[in-house]
Amino acid sequence: MKTQLFTFHGGVHPEQHKAESNAAPISVMPLLPRYVVPMRQHIGTPARPVVSVGDRVLRGQIVGAAEGYVSTAAHAPTSGRVVAIEACAVPHPSGLFDLAVVIEADGEDLSIDMQPLDWRALDPSALRNRIRDMGLAGLGGAVFPSYIKLNPGAQKIHTLIVNGAECEPWITCDDRLMRERAAELARGIEIMRHALGCTTVLLGIEDNKPEALAAMRGAAPPDWRVMSVPTLYPSGGGKQLTYLLTGVETPTGGRSTDVGIQVFNVGTAYSLYRAVELGEPLISRVVTLTGHVAQPGNFEARIGTPLADLIAAAGGALPGASGEIVGGPMMGFDLMDLAAPVTKAVNCLIVKSPSLFPPKPVELPCIRCGACARACPADLQPFEMYWYSHAKNFGHAQSYHLFDCIECGCCAYVCPSHIPLVDYFRFAKSEIWEREREKASADQARVRHEFKAFRLEREKREKAEKFAKAAEKSKVAGGADAGAAPADPDAEKKKAILQAALERAAQAKQTVTPKNTDNLPPRVQQEIDAIETRRAGVENTESQK
């Protein structure tokens, strides 16, 4: 079907390197002896461990429960024993360790009782509640909890865009997924459509994936539009794809839902299918392993698979390897520790070699050639933002709309002076955030301080009044029985009010705490109750120590 596309400004054509890994079918990783399941695999509050060391877990069992609204659960990838709950290496640019549940597999791979759902019979809100604890998060790399995105809330969603562009070089996991599992993926998209209550479905795929396009066209119901978009990085950026397919710009600082559009990655659609139709929580994903390895390809790896094992599955790194990139070469980051596991966010691991990724040339001054501005899909003037970020004049950098930068890397890619522009922008953004935080906490401190001064003042006044009253009273009583003078009735009343307030607060707390665990099916509720008791036990023993 021919449909009009809207071209966005800028974009670049980096070398594709898709052929290395897109030829072989997805291979399923064999069961490993050990998995590391981080609690922070999504945007938002990290999950809270709900198992303890020594516990036996089953495949699909929740080991980390969603905490708060923007959060989602983490599950055991196989059956076995929890051997540690501790800070572990995780795939994060900072290289810092993060809390994870370490599971030693028992080799039996026993699963919890997975219950398929007849989603067509459920109304959207019941459906959303069921998938909340399935651990779904955007698999394109943003890992925003999916159940929130599936909840249109006040905004009416009229269009669902499914992102199969996969514009980053080297990555082919979505390509293979679409080629091999088009039918299942299509069912996932139908579930999304049902949950969102929208009618239009647009699927955008870059034209360098003809097989995936054909497969998806074959699997798509007649009322979808499967659209081929020109290969141009970053056509797979959420805002860029939305514009490409609909001509609608996501307003600055907003989300596409503000204009009635929701965007999901194809990988997320597939995992939604598994969660709903098979009842299987998100415990595996397809990861591209490519670059300087013996057999590049795509692997269906369980969440928690140590990346070293993933590389081994691809025949190991070739001699002369010089490190690994997590994600694509345009937006990815250096892996600090091979012990870090596959998480929901890891779509690709590239083993580097000096010939594939030569060391960067020396940075020269900006010559204001404007190549970066011509390449910027957000229509920014990167060199101006660079100038002010470099000068640490962050206010000015911000006035050139620093926060509209999607960090796609196009500007740095084309810069003839080889300036790592995006690094400057990330730095400027983090500095600005840091300052805002400081300002906020300073404000808070000021408020606290003022309040304290006010309280002290009030207490002094009250004391003085009380003293005066007491003195009066003792005068009236003629000094009789002064020692047993009862506290004045005012104070009594105040105490009662305070007591009531405390009680109300406690009650409120009780009603708030179970917020992320209400509306649960009884089975899950039982499980959670059991876990809660265990946790209470752990806490007891811990406090006894």
């Binding site: 966005f8 307003p251 010559i367 006035s399 084309v414």
Partner: protein, 345 residues
């Protein structure tokens, strides 16, 4: 520092500058063919002085030599100045011009990328103000000269002042000069245009060189080194202003074509006004900047006391660039479709 992107497009500031030099070659070849090898001497001299001054200043500023000397930017400034100056001028004229361009206009402003004014044009402006006599003695086209100048003659003239040949034998006044002095003496333009120094559309010889600059400029455009905005707006600014002036007073003002193909207009449009460091950067800004520069060029030619106005026009507009850029910021993706100005949050 996260490090991405890990792949970079294969271009560099050095190659960009090198392509500019390459694109100048057709014009230089035409110059040699029509005016003799004098230009080769001034190119060599200017290049040598530029590299020398750049090295000295880099050493003085304690900067690494290798990346900055190999960025070719000093050579571009040197060539542009050499092509704007008369050939066969004394060597010290080139030395002073380059010294001002590289030391003052470039390095003292902070070096590559930091200068507000185009270095070559600063050098040119300083020379024309200080040594106007030398700046108007241009070698005549070979066909008109009494004496053909060989390469060794050229070196001789440049280094020893006049050498064995009288300057009158190889120089002539430029077209713009002649025009300016003659029309003020009420010579009719038709009479003027019949003089041998006038060619088909511009100055004899120089018009061909200008055509070759145009060709080189188009190469830059097709090679995506420059966008169309600045050359087109500059040429349009020149042509429109000249056209209007000629309509108003045909006895005083030359035709648009003559303006386009004489003096530094073609070189300015494609190679000087497009200098990224000193030009406006936003698409709308480039149009305003270049059109204004074209307008000023013709105004200075028509009413000023200097023979050509390209250098001063570009320098004046260089000064306005921060202002122009600020007011012509393009709309950012996802922002409301109305004029927005940077500098205001």
């Amino acid at each position: 520092m996260i490090g991405s992107p890990y792949t970079l497009a294969s271009n560099s500031t050095a190659t960009i500058m090198f392509k500019v030099l390459l694109a100048l070659l057709p014009g230089i070849a035409a110059h040699v063919w029509l005016f003799g090898p004098g230009i080769v001497v001034s190119l060599i001299l200017c290049s040598a002085f530029a590299i020398g001054f750049e090295t000295l200043l880099l050493l003085a500023r304690r900067l690494p030599l290798q990346p900055f000397l190999s960025d070719n930017s000093a050579l571009v400034s040197a060539w542009l100045l050499a092509l704007s100056l008369p050939t066969l001028a004394p060597w010290w004229l080139y030395a002073i011009g380059i010294g001002i361009a590289i030391v003052i206009a470039k390095q003292l402003y902070g070096g590559l990328g930091q200068n507000l004014f185009n270095p070559a044009m600063v050098g040119y402006a300083a020379l024309i103000v200080s040594f106007p006599v030398y700046m108007t003695q241009w070698p005549a086209p070979i066909v008109l000269a009494d004496h053909a100048i060989g390469l060794w003659d050229a070196f001789d003239i440049v280094f020893s002042g006049q050498g064995s040949i009288s300057a009158d034998a190889y120089t002539s006044a430029t077209l713009l000069d002649t025009w300016k002095t003659q029309v003020r003496l009420n010579t009719a333009p038709e009479v003027l245009l019949a003089q041998p120094i006038f060619g088909w559309i511009g100055a004899r010889g120089h018009e061909i060189v200008a055509l070759m600059y145009l060709a080189g400029g188009l190469l830059l455009f097709w090679g995506k080194r420059i966008t169309w905005h600045i050359p087109l707006a500059f040429l349009a600014g020149v042509a429109l202003t000249a056209g209007v002036l000629q309509l108003i007073d045909p006895t005083q003002h030359a035709s648009p074509l003559l303006h386009l193909f004489s003096g530094g207009v073609m070189l300015g449009a494609f190679f000087i006004a497009t200098d990224p460091v000193t030009a406006a950067t936003t698409p709308r800004g480039k149009l305003i900047y270049a059109a204004m520069a074209g307008f000023l060029t013709v105004i200075i030619r028509g009413f000023g006391s200097f023979p050509d106005g390209v250098a001063f026009a570009i320098l004046l507009m260089n000064m306005c660039v921060p202002f122009i850029d600020d007011y012509t910021q393009p709309r950012v993706f996802g922002h409301p479709r109305k004029r927005s100005k940077a500098g205001q949050p």
